[in-house]
Amino acid sequence: MNYMIIIDLQKQDWKKIFRAKGFYKSLSVKLLMGFMGVYFASIFLFLGFFLGDILNEVSETLKPLEVFNGATLYMLLAALTIRFFMQQLNTVNLPAFQSLPVKRSTLVNFLLLKPAFSFGNYMTLLVIIPFAVKSVFAYYTGAIALRFVLNFILLIWFDMWIAAYLKRRFGSSLLTLPVILIVLGGLAALEYFKVFSLFEVSRQFFNLLIFNPAGLLLTAAAAGLAYVLNLWFFSRNYYPEKFNEKLKLNDSRVTGGFSFLDRFGVTGELISLQIRLIFRHKRTKSLVYMSAIFLAYGLLFYNSPMYKDQPGWLFFCAMFMTGILMLMYGQWVFSWESSYFDSILTKNIPVKTYMNANFYLLVAFNIISFVLTTPYFFFGTKIIYLHLAAFLFNTGVNIFLLLFFGSFNIKRVDLNARSSFNYQGTTYKSFLIVMPIMFLPMIIVGIISAFAPMNVALAVLAAMGLLGIIFREPLLRLCVNQFNKRKYLMAEGFRDKA
């Protein structure tokens, strides 16, 4: 009886997706997302098939499975961190069920089991299963390979429920991210300097689990415990206010006044309004977390010998990192404010002032990202030039492109929608805007550096950026004219809640 209702609820949930307004509308976006899904799935499968070979290279003495087991605790922690910050807590439309004879415990169980039915949680199996077939079965027995896969699924569940519990219990605030990153960094450093090896602990522990037929019971118990922890949380917090968590306004540090912005008059007011917008919505906050994670992009790129002699790619990476906040937020510039766009248009805000505010906000984002990426300067003077040129180009060229073409986004952005990987409000136009910004400079650098030293290419792009900064007034006026032409279409699109 109980589980029947849960199945019904799950069906309703799927219907909600397929019957959502606009599900059939933006086919182009869906196709693109579909292609991306296939693309990533094939990369995962590919990785799965060759993971064994890769791990063989990592260690000469250890078998691939043992290396994998050694890395498992790290993966668990990393996945937990990502889930803690990115994963939206599941909620249920409680009032609709409260009047029906559905037991509360059924609803709670549904809430907790829901993510277990979500395909996204099992994407990693695309790596794990080929690896198990190719590299576990080959060295050991089929039973061990099977246990390895089952163990991994149980670990996914464990992570999923522990993250949900931690999030329900502690909520997520911006401050916890650096703390967690420091802890993870610390563990990695201890490992690196051979003080304490979490790898060794993890390897022996999971070896024991997988080679021992009863080992699975321990993982299952851990997953069960995580589940019970959630149940316990809900029994302690009976009322739905705790169920569907709400923003509490006691955090005046990020939400209160920004008195230093006062002296910039209306421009300052508009900027501080947008900062509050960012910190009071999950969708925008997760954008900030994502940006922080992307700042590590350079570790992959700058260390890789593959890209060492690829100036175009190097510049792409530099531009991406030093402009990450600008790119993430700026691709929906104006649209973020769609819910009160009529207010922007009718209150005493001259369009030029509004444009200036957006310009300086994006400049501030660029400065922040630039400063945060300065540690990469230790990679050599080349990186310094690269980042400076990228910063100038972002500020002097890309911002104006975003402000000019931003007025083509006329779909309402729902700030209260699901937070991470949210494509609500995305149309093919959003991609059309971002594509040239991402790839054009890379191509320019590639072409110039084919004939001249890379620094010449960088100088050209830096000069373009400088010109943009010097001529910002006429450029901004151009954006204002464009905005004035498009504002009726934007306002109309933003009013449409569908």
């Binding site: 209306v266 309004l273 009071r280 009529d342 009718t346 005493n348």
Partner: protein, 231 residues
């Protein structure tokens, strides 16, 4: 104060608004009534330059509004929740709007003090966000924010709906005061004929985008309107 000439708005071949000429002098309180789809909100949006006209123009203070900024400092308006910034607390919102019109913190505090009656102790002081307020309280916040700038022209779309009876009476009192003391030019739409005749000196009836009645409010106005709308 407000001059409208040859104004028309067409949505996919249907003319939703067509006004040859309409002048609203300074200090007049102008009521707009009409059934759903008569074009009331369209007219307000055209005056506020939120939608482009297919022909004609709107002039405020002898300057056209379309794609201009100058008129914005004269006008206070509240049409719908698209005028509210719902992730702010009411205080933050009032402060934000006040600052746009160069009001000091002192001015804003003084203004809110004057609104205390209208707010009925429900809006200020809580740390609630606007999106968590009831519809009626959201409306009060929107109306107050339209007034914070001491506007010369006030435009309100359906200000009485969603308000409780006491608040409706308080709002009427407030609007009448603004007319008498500050000679604010007012444009107010309503479905409730009573409210319009009580607040406005002039009442205009729109039907299918056209002005069909233009009445100076007198003793018989309510009856005349009621007989017009009678089915």
């Amino acid at each position: 104060m407000i001059q409208i000439s040859n104004l028309s708005k067409i949505y996919s071949d249907v003319t939703v608004l067509n006004i040859d000429s309409l002048t609203i002098p300074q200090g007049e309180s102008f009521g707009l009534v009409g059934n759903n789809g008569a074009g009331k909100t369209t007219l307000f949006r055209l005056i506020l330059d939120l939608i482009p006209a297919n022909s004609g123009e709107v002039m405020l203070d002898n300057a056209p509004v379309a794609r201009r900024d100058e008129w914005k400092s004269l006008v206070g308006s509240f049409l719908d929740e698209g005028f509210l910034i719902d992730f702010l607390t009411p205080e933050e919102y009032f402060k934000f709007v006040g600052k746009l019109y160069n009001k000091s913190e002192g001015d804003i505090a003084l203004f809110l003090e004057g609104m205390k009656d209208f707010f009925n102790d429900e809006i200020l002081g809580d740390k609630k966000l606007i999106r968590d307020l009831s519809k009626g309280n959201q409306k009060k916040v929107g109306i107050a924010a339209a007034l914070i700038s001491d506007p010369k022209i006030l435009i309100l779309d359906e200000p009485f709906t969603a308000l409780d009876p006491s608040s409706q009476i308080r709002l009427k009192r407030l609007l009448n005061e603004l007319q008498e003391k500050d000679h604010v030019t007012m444009l107010i739409s309503s479905h409730d004929l009573n409210h319009v005749t009580e607040v406005c000196k002039r009442t205009v009836v729109l039907e299918k985008g056209k002005i069909v009645r233009d009445i100076q409010t007198g003793e018989d106005t309510l009856k005349e309107l009621e007989s017009y709308f009678a089915v």
